[in-house]
């Protein structure tokens, strides 16, 4: 009797692990997850199982996001999925390190990044315009 219970527990554990790691075709995803992961629809079935699993965990948090966060999430999702595991890990470490900086300094860095972005956006325009004027 005891051996039977132990065997059942082992089978249940193994089944649960197998189920968690199994790849899920796009059509089998719940509608909420499909909505969250919509930008990845074309390449979903070719993604590794582990990556699919991680992305599905992210998708579970998607309904709790604000509108602008949802927009950012979907805009960045394809870029994120195209990174190598090492690149993603490095990004996580950088983000964790950045999170540990005091809030004031973090805000300063954010402002600097935004200013740099604004300059980068303006540069191609100003670079193209003189060339167009020249004969």
């Amino acid at each position: 009797m005891n051996k039977l219970i132990v065997a059942m527990a082992v089978i249940c554990t193994l089944t649960a692990q197998t189920a968690a790691a199994a790849p899920e075709p796009w059509s089998a995803l719940p509608p909420a997850e499909r909505e969250a992961l919509a930008p990845l629809h074309p390449q979903w079935n070719s993604l590794p199982e582990k990556q699919q699993h991680n992305l599905r965990i992210l998708a579970q948090h998607y309904p709790k996001l604000k509108m602008d966060e949802k927009r950012r999430f979907q805009n960045r999702l394809v870029t994120w999925a195209q990174l190598t595991p090492a690149q993603r890990q490095a990004a996580r470490e950088k983000y964790r390190a950045f999170s540990q900086i005091p809030a004031e300094k973090r805000e300063q860095i954010k402002q600097m990044v935004k200013q740099n972005q604004a300059v980068k956006i303006q540069q191609p325009v100003s670079g193209v315009a003189p060339a167009a004027v020249q004969p």
Partner: protein, 114 residues
Amino acid sequence: MKKYSQHINHQHIAKLLSSSTDQLDDSVLSALRQAHTVALDKQRVAEPVFSLSTIGHRAHHLMPHSTHQWIATSIILAAILIGAIGYWQDAQMPVDMEILTDDLPIEVFVDQHE
């Protein structure tokens, strides 16, 4: 009675008792001293002392005794652990999600040259 109690002088009573002990026999005095010493030795000191004996005794009753009880306890503990992990994972926003939703662009954290 009230008038009588007002006249009671405590010092006077103490003197009376002292003088009466002087009149006692040595054997009675020594017996009294011995009784006094024994009473002091046996006096219980009422200090609060933390003891694990009670907890241990109760814990013994709570511990599973048979194999079935051990299995049931293990299953309950495993269920609580899985539930706690699930709750923690749900409450904890994965760092990937924070990167993907932060107001800083993803390029700030991603090194494209790796």
